[in-house]
């Protein structure tokens, strides 16, 4: 089995109006990994996603899926889109059926599945995003966060190997973000490879295994999240600061409150590390 699920090799794309989409962009997504694509507005994240799903075709370069170059014929695109699910940023631009269950059924029906299988997939997908009770509801009566979840269910029902979400946290309040993260964790636990676009470096550091930096249509670096602290220069080059938790951990380590080797990824990790240090007699002596 090919370890690299999706690969872009020196892909360039310019929109018909002349604006730059991608510029010699290369990127690899490993099977089963949690990835974040981070970059400023207009960096080319959405364009890259549309290449991954076959909605856009590279003008130069190659897109490979599971080791093979993407076939842009009708059958090839059908195969690709059944394996790569794309959730758009604005749910109102993705949902076009009146009821939740109908909209979720759209993708599986396009795959040519029989009605019984589609009903099963719709029920499973809605349950996976915690919307099992909402199948008969009209889409326009849902909250923004619920619409986002229906969008994810609509793509999940196609049972993709790679799930791509374009800025899934945009417009969600804290509670909705936590709910969505729980859904994503569950999906990752089921073996689905995840790729998210975000502007939030703190979230990226907390959640992802691999972080891909993008600027001006190009993927400038791919970093293991755990090693982000030693790549401040790469982050600065795309206008991003180090995650706050790293800055705080360094300051605490400088004060002797934390061991220098500690690598907390979130506030909860940091607090746990601090409590652990307090309980240790030798660290207590240091304080």
């Amino acid at each position: 089995m090919n370890d690299c699920l999706l690969e872009l090799q020196q892909v360039s794309y310019r929109y018909p109006d002349g604006s730059l989409g991608l510029n010699d962009c290369s990127l690899a997504i490993r099977r089963g990994s949690r990835n974040v694509l981070i970059g400023a507005n207009g960096a080319g994240k959405t364009t890259l996603f549309q290449h991954a799903n076959g909605l856009l075709r590279p003008q130069t370069g190659v897109v490979r899926y599971a080791g093979a170059a993407v076939d842009y014929g009708r059958a090839g695109l059908r195969r690709l889109r059944s394996r790569v699910g794309l959730v758009f940023q604005n749910p109102d631009r993705q949902l076009f059926s009146a009821s939740v269950a109908e909209d979720v059924s759209f993708g599986p029906l396009n795959l040519g599945l029989d009605t019984a299988s589609v009903r099963r997939r719709v029920a499973d997908a809605l349950a996976a995003v915690g919307m099992g009770e909402f199948g008969g509801r009209p889409v326009h009566n849902l909250s923004f966060g619920q619409k986002k979840r229906v969008c994810i269910a609509g793509v999940l029902a196609m049972q993709p190997e790679l799930l791509i979400l374009d800025e899934p946290m945009a417009g969600l309040d804290h509670a909705m973000q936590q709910e969505l993260l729980a859904v994503l964790d569950k999906l990752h636990g089921r073996g689905i490879t995840l790729l998210l676009a975000t502007h939030d470096i703190d979230f990226a550091y907390r959640w992802a295994e691999r972080i891909h930096l993008m600027a001006a249509g190009r993927c400038t670096a791919t970093l293991a999240a755990g090693e982000l602290g030693s790549h401040g220069a790469e982050l600065a080059a795309v206008g991003l600061p180090l995650p706050e938790i790293i800055t705080l951990q360094r300051a605490l380590a400088g004060q002797g409150l934390l061991p220098a080797g500690a690598r907390p990824r979130c506030a909860a990790d940091l607090l746990a590390a601090l409590n652990q240090t307090k309980e240790s007699p030798c660290q207590f002596a240091l304080i």
Binding site: Q50, R78, R81, S97, A98, E102, S105, R119, V139
Partner: protein
Amino acid sequence: MLIEQAAYANRWRAISPAAKGLFAAAGFVAVFAAGRPLTAALVAGGLALLTVVGAGIPAARYLRVAAPALFFLALGSLSLAFSLDVSAGAPHWRLAPGGLDQLAETGSRSLGALAALLFLVLTTPLSDLIGLLRRLKAPELLLDIMVLCYRTLFVFSAAVHDTLTAQSARLGYATPRLALRSLGQLAANLTLQVWQRAAALHVAAQARNNDGPLCFLTPDFADSRRHCALAGLAGLALISLAVSLR
């Protein structure tokens, strides 16, 4: 919105749309089979009562939904009953020959047809009706247009509301002149949004492997056959009653 709210929150929401459609069709037939205007009016009243009491639609909401149709019906009926006489001297209105009979017949039948239609749309969400039409093999293109129009209706209603609020917040409607200009800008903005959203929906459909008609799962209704049989019997009873009261 009133129709939408009633359709999703009535006692007969879970009843098969085929059964409700069958009964509404029987209502239409009964109204036209009725020999006397009074019978047609009775059928209309019965259908309205059934919608309000049976399905639990609040009477006030029912009347508000029916009001525009009743207004047009009243206008049409008056034009049937009266005619403009220009034969002698100054033109004046007079009762048309046989006008009252015509008014009673057409008015009562129209009322009955309206009551049958309201029974269906106030108890059945449009998505279920589209599902029913799909089962009845209505043309795919028509159904696709219905689906998209229905969904975009709410999207654009939200867009209009947001734009109006944003314009009002910056005094866009402070004077009649400004209001006219703001309305023009709103229309221009919406036209652009229609085009952009249509393109976005097309891309979203492609991303989910669509390359032809828009296919959706038709909702399943428990006891559909029993409900259809009951609706059929009730419809037959209604038609028989209308015919027997000649």
